[in-house]
Symmetry: C2
Subunit: 238 residues, 2 copies
Amino acid sequence: MGQVERAGTLVGVGVGPGAPDLLTLRAARAIEGARVLAYPTLAGAPSFARSIAAGFIREGVEEVAIDIPMIPAREPAQAAYDTGALRIAAHLEAGRDVVCLCEGDPMFYGSFMYLQARLAGRFAVEVVPGVTSVSAAAAVAGLPLGAREGRIAVLPATLPDEALAEGLRAHETVALMKLGRHFPRVRTLLDGLGLTGRATYVERATLAGEVVRPLAEAPAEAPYFSLILVTKDADPWL
Amino acid sequence: MGQVERAGTLVGVGVGPGAPDLLTLRAARAIEGARVLAYPTLAGAPSFARSIAAGFIREGVEEVAIDIPMIPAREPAQAAYDTGALRIAAHLEAGRDVVCLCEGDPMFYGSFMYLQARLAGRFAVEVVPGVTSVSAAAAVAGLPLGAREGRIAVLPATLPDEALAEGLRAHETVALMKLGRHFPRVRTLLDGLGLTGRATYVERATLAGEVVRPLAEAPAEAPYFSLILVTKDADPWL
């Protein structure tokens, strides 16, 4: 009993799409007050989530970097989350809260979910929601996501063509995520569906180097932090 | 030339799902610095967006309340936005920025889009994205919205049964918005699809009086600020 009552809380904090002032007040306070911070890194690269939050991180805070290998197989990433969860659990068992930094929103394609799945049964979990990359892209592009009876779909571009085409057919607005190496295929698909003229490419929304342009004028390669917004209904909100 | 250069900017500010500390830092600063605030009210009731932002509103700020009639026909609401846009335009023409408060995110089923559509051609527009009610509901329910190849749909419950059923079939996660008088019909539909056990009801997420419970245990009536999260894949994130 005593041990459970003294255990720390796992706090998943969304740091938003990139601009530090798009953190919520709650997120900023949680990070400023943290004694232990955890965050993912990809194949040893600096953590994007940490870089967004850097201005709120106090000196001397303990940091748990969970390095995720960038290989297609799932097992090595799962092993990395297993190890990361063990390191976090040690802090929680010692009564220390652990603030886990997440790009965007923790529940929206975030790595936090993998930690939550491993720890929620034993420890208290809190989630501070954040601004997603989809909301950020809509804001910088000036494009409504949904109004009235409009349907919105969020689809990873890693899905096969048929699944993407079905989603594009059935929704007024579609956000295509995780473009990466699927970008050329998705462009061909949108062209074939006659939707290129309705598609906007957004890269690094709200960050330095932000790119917002019609898909037809997009660069040949899409980095990880990019997405396509397809808004089929040109005037849905008048 | 001179007039255009001196014109004010229309700033759509998302105030998030309800808790005042879920405003972004950028939103809080925009509101604190505003000389003119605009916001919708529904049929004369107090503005929910204004109540979320109240702690950041300075004394003496000019306020433009745009009252939207609560009737099914679209024309009276359109007329109200027309009038509101004219009142806002007068401030913008006089060189005053106008900060428009929006529940959640301005581009996500927000009334801001109706003002933007009327004013964007003549005035500069900026959008400060916010945390949506969907992210807030996922946070308080501890439910992932999407991971890996998971597809997410956001569907207004005002759509006919067939459209809702198609969306529920094709996506791992569905957020059903705008429940209101459609709530009993949606519950019957989910029951028929065998999805009640996968459905979570969330009301007033992050606010006093928050309700989070399995749909089977939801109250009989759903207020405006409620939604259902259907998460079909029980363990998508391990």
